[in-house]
Symmetry: C2
């Protein structure tokens, strides 16, 4: 034992478990009267919000909910959805925020698999929830209704309202810090395209570090105003509830992602930050120029959830928003890779800049490491911008594992790295660029074809509104690319013209052999549902 | 065991020890060609700086220096001093940066107590170092000379130059991350006013969190330009070497704290941030207005190390600098309390604003907790701005402990809190305000008198340049306040006028009974050496 290990112990004075719950306690102490949350007529301070979270925590405790118990929530981006990110873990419990677009069967599966003791829900989704509860048939599940005065549709399903529930809790409740920073804080089910969803477990340490990572990646200042265009159910809103508390910022709630509402609230509340999948920015971009021009202050947008076509980045920046492109997975607390801005990119023309920004980038400061490597040997590929490999990450912003699924957890962590399943190239400047999900790569005549590369080409065509490319089985080539295309209103374009356009922009073997004009099915987070397209492609003759 | 503890382990994919060394690796990967350090003609990038740190780490390893070994440095703020903050711990060793103003006996004590294997030194201090080495008489100690082309005075004492030493190391050396984030990273001796200095040990976890805490407290952006007015030997430059790496910023070196040099370099390098004790800002303030007026960009200054009189804050802000006042001790990695800015303070007149800013403030987000409490019962005092108590802190930015001193470590951590030894009041808004070091409180006729309160009054007098108040033994009252005063050049002021001025500004029992005009002895970090003044006061008749 060396001199630095002798008699120098962890004691209560010099060691505490990292937890993002501290951020709210701190905000409420230092900035009690600063605005924390805005929703319609509701404007609550950090002191008020903290009091409500402590009431919730205390009330959960009275109800018998504690360490290792699951509290589920299925709600739009309302103040209550923000509060549960603190109140639930302040009771020692684990928050499971459920995707509001799921079907009843999947919701029932999640409630059952997570062993939820409580479901906090909202009547916009009462149709699906009612059906899920019937399937679940668990009389012990306490159902609580959020009551939102700004919305009047759907049915109350619970035995008590959220406000009545927390009213019985003590707003000065002394909540317990986690005994261990490795304790679970939340549970997020991945929207697997096949099979049952997997429950990704986050811990307090990772949630704390990721929250700060978001603040650093964006250079966010104290009291920044953040608009909730990103669903809180998606990787805990990529963990921004905890980031906004860390800077005592302002949460501006938003029930529906609609262009007019977004632009109006950005102007009114002087929103400085918002996040979303590429389609969110498509929606904003398609809204009236009059509303856009009213926004005079700087707005920063973080895009993730699906690779953004450079054309979309360029359009949004033309609106005056500054885009930061990040990449990650549910398993990495959302964004753990960022396309860090290089000052000398400023010199490039807008289209080239957008192309550089469309790359996924480099690990955030808080992640340990990232590599693009051969999925079998796990040897890193050359940084040549050409060689395809799988993306691997490791570090503190990787999940604790999949709930009740040790086999899949072990597979995901095999060899000391998290296996992302995404296929990328590694550029000379250490930036990665996603070329596909491993299962989306098209293998044609032994050659790998990136569906994303073809999609980027299609998005450059002035008549094309939306596009996606998948593999279609082919007797001769094994697979061939099949393009799905939605045209802009009133645009006219033939399949032959699409093929001709691709031919002019890429290698011959990559050109789609089939073109189908159709509305493209996307998930709530903007991801193309390629498993559906693959079915359509297979059945198309 | 609950479902969240089952089969969800820490594995290499999802857990890594926190260490600030990662910040440099990250900066060098993402921003290899960005400027990292400036000193005279030297301008090195992050890639170059990282290469030099890896060379140093490798060369130390070849020399047999590794985990638990101490490498000492005694140097001005030069690039090499920055590099050792990374290169030494990359070898697994512990950095001991020694105060350059210490006497030879104390330097020898430190080298011996720390069991230093290597001393990296610089010839500006060769007089003291030579004498210390003679006292130490350790032929095994390897002495390395930093060679600075911009400075030509003093003697080389070592057997090799720093550049020649690291030239034998591999710039691609694969350094090992700490096996445990609780491992020591650095050792800083406190300049105790009596007795031998105590060795405060920092660990990787605390250094990591404190580095980010600095970035957050100041809202620092990527590539910020930082001027080294604060000595790197003081709490590892309050840990800013690691902060600047975290944001891939620019370190602007500075050998001597001189007003003209500071203002010139602020203008030339577009310096945005600097730190220092109050006296640093006094020096800047006393420099020619012509130089000040040339600075057109915003500059943020962090002041700590001694309670800044509101008058100094007001003067520096009048220069256009924005001041952030922080407070901490060597034992808390430097600043762990910050006078967080409240937007509504803006409405107050400048003098009241300065008074609010002169309070020490609230714990930083990364510290667990802070209280002002009775030193015996450890019960928090009322938040009334009146009741005196001792400041206690706890959390991750509290030291690992004192090296080879378990008794003092245990005393410092007694009751689960770090005992600061500073006396403060707690205001209603949760901001603390230091009133004294516990040993500096003057107890007169059973009443506590804060020496700092009296000093603040004296600093408001237009003829007074510097002031300090200590207790003088008194037969009748036990103790009475004795004021030491340095007048401004050409100013004339009598002891009676000083007493009259105090009488007009405070309670009668607090008014100094004695006034002595003299140059006030301060430590290198700007702290008044009150033990000297107490001697003088005692002997003054």
């Amino acid at each position: 034992m060396n001199i630095y290990e002798n008699n120098l112990y962890q004691v209560p004075a010099n060691f505490e478990a990292l937890t993002p719950l501290k951020f709210m306690q701190h905000a409420a102490m230092v900035y009690p009267n600063k605005l924390a949350i805005v929703h319609g007529e509701i404007r609550r301070t950090w002191a008020q919000t903290y009091a409500r979270c402590r009431q919730l925590a205390h009330r959960l405790k009275i109800h018998g909910v504690g360490i290792g118990d699951t509290v589920a929530v299925l709600s739009p981006n309302l103040p209550e959805h923000f509060e549960v990110h603190f109140g639930v873990p302040m009771a020692g419990a684990v928050l499971n925020s459920i995707n509001t677009r799921l079907d009843a069967r999947t919701v029932a599966f999640i409630l059952q698999h997570a062993e939820a003791k409580i479901l906090i829900t909202e009547r916009e989704f009462s149709g699906v929830v009612k059906e899920a509860l019937a399937l679940l048939n668990n009389p012990d599940l306490l159902v609580i209704d959020i009551v939102d005065p700004t919305f009047d549709s759907g049915e109350y399903l619970g035995s008590i309202s959220y406000d009545d529930f927390i009213a019985q809790g003590d707003e000065n409740f002394i909540w317990s810090k986690p005994t261990n920073e490795w304790n679970a804080i939340s549970l997020n089910y991945t929207s697997g395209t096949t099979g049952d969803p997997k429950g990704v477990v986050y811990h307090h340490r990772g949630a704390y570090l990721n929250a700060i990572s978001n603040v650093m990646s964006w250079g966010m200042q104290s009291h920044a105003v953040y608009l909730w265009t990103l669903p809180m159910f998606h990787c805990n809103g990529w963990c921004f509830p905890w980031s906004i508390a860390a800077i005592a910022g302002v949460n501006v709630c938003l029930r529906h992602v609609r262009g007019e509402a977004i632009l109006t609230v950005i102007e009114r509340e002087k929103v400085e930050y918002l996040c979303g999948a590429p389609m969110v920015f498509n929606i904003i971009n398609d809204t009236s120029d009059v509303l856009k021009e009213r926004i005079k202050h700087p707005v920063k947008a973080m895009v993730a959830g699906a690779p953004p076509p450079p054309a979309i980045i360029q359009k949004v920046e033309a609106m005056g928003f500054t885009i930061t492109h990040t990449y990650g997975l549910t398993e990495t607390y959302g964004p753990s890779v960022v396309c860090a801005w290089q000052e000398d990119w400023q010199e490039h023309p807008a289209d080239h800049k957008a192309k550089l920004k469309a790359r996924q980038g480099v690990p955030v400061v808080f992640q340990d490491d990232l590599m693009v490597a051969d999925p079998i040997t796990m040897q890193p590929v050359a940084k040549d911008g050409q060689t395809l490999g799988e993306i691997f990450m490791r570090g503190n912003v990787v999940m604790k594992g999949y709930l009740k699924n040790p086999k899949t957890t072990n597979e995901a962590f095999e060899g000391g790295w998290f296996h992302s399943g995404d296929i990328a190239v590694w550029h000379e400047d250490s930036y990665i660029e996603i070329k596909d999900r491993s299962k989306d790569v098209i293998i044609s005549g032994g050659e790998n074809i990136s569906s994303i590369e073809l999609e980027e080409i299609l998005f450059r065509h002035p008549s094309i509104q939306d596009a996606a490319v998948v593999a279609k089985p082919d007797e001769k080539w094994g697979e061939v690319p099949c393009a799905f295309i939605k045209l802009k209103t009133d645009a006219v374009l033939s399949a032959e013209e699409v093929i001709e356009f691709c031919r002019a922009n890429t290698a011959r073997f990559k050109v789609p052999k089939h073109v189908i004009f159709i509305d493209i099915p996307r998930t709530p987070t903007g991801k193309v549902q390629k498993f559906i397209l693959r079915e359509w492609a297979k059945n198309d003759s």
